[in-house]
């Protein structure tokens, strides 16, 4: 996917949230304040366009913490380029998302 892909404001916001590192759907909701009915379909479209990729958490980690394994999303190279383009298009995005420390799986 080319870096000049034009994203909607909402999608750019989600992509920006994902830039925080490996995150999952609910954390994107928390960061952006968007409802689940917006976030998850947007994640599907971004993944289909190869701007992000997903990965299941290792089961052993989830078992150790006695919770179900989660699916994490992260930016691809193309996604990062698109994000840079969207930052130029939506300069105020930076202010909407607080800086978050990258999370490790």
């Amino acid at each position: 996917m080319a870096s000049e892909t034009k994203l909607s404001h909402t999608t750019a916001l989600i992509l920006h949230a994902l830039d925080a590192g490996l995150v999952y759907g609910f954390s994107v909701m928390e960061m952006t304040g968007l409802p689940s009915g917006t976030v998850y379909p947007a994640l599907r479209r971004l993944e289909r366009d190869e701007l992000i990729c997903s990965q299941w958490e290792r089961q052993s980690i989830a078992d150790a913490e006695q919770r179900p394994a989660r699916k994490y999303y992260k930016l691809t190279v193309a996604g990062r380029a698109t994000l840079e383009a969207s930052r130029r298009r939506y300069p105020l995005l930076e202010r909407l998302i607080p800086t978050v420390e990258a999370k490790q799986v």
């Binding site: 999952y24 599907r44 919770r67 989660r70």
Partner: protein, 500 residues
Amino acid sequence: MTARVDMVVRAFQRGFLSCISLLVPSGQRAEWRREWQAELWHVRRACAPAGAVSWQAEREVTAFCLGAFQDALCLRLHAPKNEPRIALLHGSALQCLLFLGGVLAASYGLTLLLPGVRVESHPERYQVRSGLIMIQDEAYSNDWVAATIPVERFRDWETTRQRYFDGLAFYRIGEQAVSAGSHGTGGWEVAEASKNLFSLLGLPVRFASQEGEADAGLPQAILSDAVWKREFGGDPRVVGSVLRVGGRDVRIAGVAAEGGWRLPGKADVWLLERDSEIAAGGRGHVVAHLTNQGRSEMWASYVHIDAYSPDEPGDNLCGFSFEERTRGPWGIYQFTVLLAFLALPAITTVSMGEYSVSSHRPSWSRRLCRWGYMGAKIALLLPIVYFLSLDVAYWHTTLYSLASEYAQLAASFSICLFGLRWALLDQRQRCPVCLRHVTNPARVGLASRTFLAWNGTELMCTAGHTLLHVPGLPTSWFSTQRWLYLDTSWEFLFTGSGVG
């Protein structure tokens, strides 16, 4: 909020996600459901920490779950189109079963629309009592519809003590002028019959009038269903009114059930009279009910009867069982299906072909599937035969007739026989592994070299499981088709077929 309500709400949320997951394309469904269940767990922990339950928290969690609908819808709308799936269906066993299911539904639908079939599907309307026979002159034993017994002879039998019969009834059909008051006048087929005819046969009479029975002054008349509808517009109030039949007044006592009359002759009205009142002259039909002694003598559907009279020489008579002739469509169907199964080897081989000895033979479950498929085809075919044969038999007629019975017999036998033949041929042309039709026929060898080398046709499974060799001329060393199972070295040729 109680823990019990909380449990119900949780169950509802999980159930909602499971239901919504049905919208997701099947290939992505399991992963989608896993992700949403995991997310739900985390959302619940975030909204209601440490097991605290509140309506506010449940509202938030439920709102989260509702978003799953949009997500599932999005996946469904952007799912790859189904053309490849349709392509996979082409030539498959499922397609064949769906086709048979469609034919079955169509034939059954037609059955519901045809009035004649609707009548036939109610055997209680036309099935007569057991132990009834029709007595005829033996000279007419091949003609079941011929009226052969003079009414005077019948009266003699009525007055004589009978060992073999405990009930006798007479009827004679002829055209008479009938005046139906305001409904007009015309020539009707009138059956002059014994008073006990309908009760002896056990045929139902609709709107039976107690008043009419009590009125001993007038003979009773039973209208046929067709005349009742045609002349009286199907009005039940006509029962009890008076008709003028052949110069006599008769009272309508009821209406015969639609399609109930299966005896020889077609009557518009049955005039039930005392035997002594039936006009002399002419010949008619006699129905008799067998005693136990009579039944023990009647070991077949046909029996010879000697009637002795003190004044006249004895008659040679015969008796036909009614059960053979009023067995209904189900009896005919069973008979023809049995006949078709017996005749099948005469029109096609029942062999499924020979199989190469190979380690690549299909597993037991695959073989079971193959025979299950054959069983499913026959299971769908048999009801199709029943409904289609009825549709053919009663396409133009709304009432039972011998012609419709023969039509059902012929149709049922033909459809069943050729249907079974098709089922076997279809089975022989399907790969034993994937049950798809083998394709790409290729002629191999020369017919002139039959005795020096093999010649025939080779067909191939498009998924690369098997090759089918069909001999051009069956010989003692290659009499029937042979299946060759392909090993894994062939797989690279079929990787793009998309059939597994």
